[in-house]
């Protein structure tokens, strides 16, 4: 009975891997900027997956969003080690590792906020304190950044 459940979980995990591993690896690579380390994190995420399958595959929830949240959780310790997300010098390596067409069309402020929250795992509260801005303004800028992504997608 338990073995059957585990086998089913493996099959579901494989299906999720086929569909979303590339998307998650793309995100992880943007965060860690190291292919080997990114692969290690991807393996960790999918090893953790069977314990979270019930939540991730729940009807009505976006599977990629749930996987992304799990990945973000797995990267929590790594986020602590990343320096501040600067956007003034695009040649430097603190921005995502591959050319990012979405970030490139954002305004400097949108880019900084989106990068800090999405790729550096910062909370709105911390970012607002760091930038000396109200949280509402940070959220509004995030909304504008998503509008830019929608136009590009």
């Amino acid at each position: 009975m338990i073995q059957q459940e585990v086998l089913t979980n493996t099959a579901v995990t494989r299906a999720l891997y086929d569909e979303y591993a590339g998307l998650l690896l793309g995100y992880i690579y943007e965060v860690v900027k190291d292919k080997e380390l990114a692969e290690q994190y991807l393996v960790s995420v999918f090893n953790e997956l069977p314990r979270n399958l019930h939540q991730i595959t729940r009807p009505g929830l976006n599977t990629y969003h749930q996987l992304q949240l799990l990945t973000r959780k797995m990267l929590a310790d790594y986020f602590e080690t990343i320096p501040v997300c600067k956007t003034t010098d695009p040649e430097k390596n603190y921005l995502p590792g591959t050319p990012n067409k979405f970030l490139s069309v954002m305004t400097k402020e949108q880019r900084l906020i989106f990068c800090s929250v999405h790729y550096h795992g910062k909370s709105i509260y911390v970012l607002a304190a760091e930038m000396n801005m109200p949280e509402e303004v940070i959220k509004k800028t995030l909304l504008q950044a998503f509008a830019t992504i929608r136009r590009m997608a």
Partner: protein
């Protein structure tokens, strides 16, 4: 909860939730409002699609060996499940109880090991060394005694021979 829905949608709260930066309270609010208001649900779905589209555009093909590593770990999980003795499984089932639809597992310390203070290490070492010293002494005195007994026997025999002579 009375909320101006359009204002809420335009506040960036949904984007904060999608990106994973919402606080637990904000998450609960989003979940509540999406169940209450179709426009919130629709806006959220749009954002989820946008987020996924962005991820698809940035996707990186995993290396060929990545799945094998994951599968190997999952197979280990199956092996571990198979090697759990039935007695433990039964015990585990007994310790699992239902409560308001949620499962709880009673954790009970059943280790057969005993923890002692580190200072006892020196006491045990001293006892061990003393026991060895006593053992050596016992063997020594036993052999001495046996030799003395033999000498006594020999002397007795000598005396008997002399008496007869």
């Amino acid at each position: 909860m009375k909320v101006d829905i359009q204002q809420y949608i335009n506040s960036g709260a949904l984007e904060t939730y999608i990106i994973g930066a919402a606080t637990p309270d904000e998450e609960q609010q989003v979940k509540y409002l999406q169940n209450q208001y179709p426009e919130v649900k629709y806006a959220l779905q749009q954002l989820e699609d946008d987020f996924e589209d962005m991820a698809r555009a940035m996707a990186v093909t995993p290396p060929p060996g990545a799945w094998n590593k994951i599968e190997s770990e999952l197979n280990n999980l199956i092996t571990r499940q198979q090697t759990i003795p039935d007695v433990f499984n039964k015990h585990q089932q007994n310790n699992t109880r239902q409560n308001n639809g949620q499962q709880y597992i009673e954790v009970e310390a059943e280790s057969s090991h005993m923890k002692v203070h580190k200072n006892w290490k020196w006491v045990f070492t001293a006892v061990f060394i003393l026991s060895k010293v006593f053992l050596i002494c016992a063997i020594y005195f036993y052999l001495e005694n046996r030799q003395a007994q033999q000498q006594i026997q020999e002397l007795k025999q000598e005396l008997k021979v002399r008496d007869k002579g």
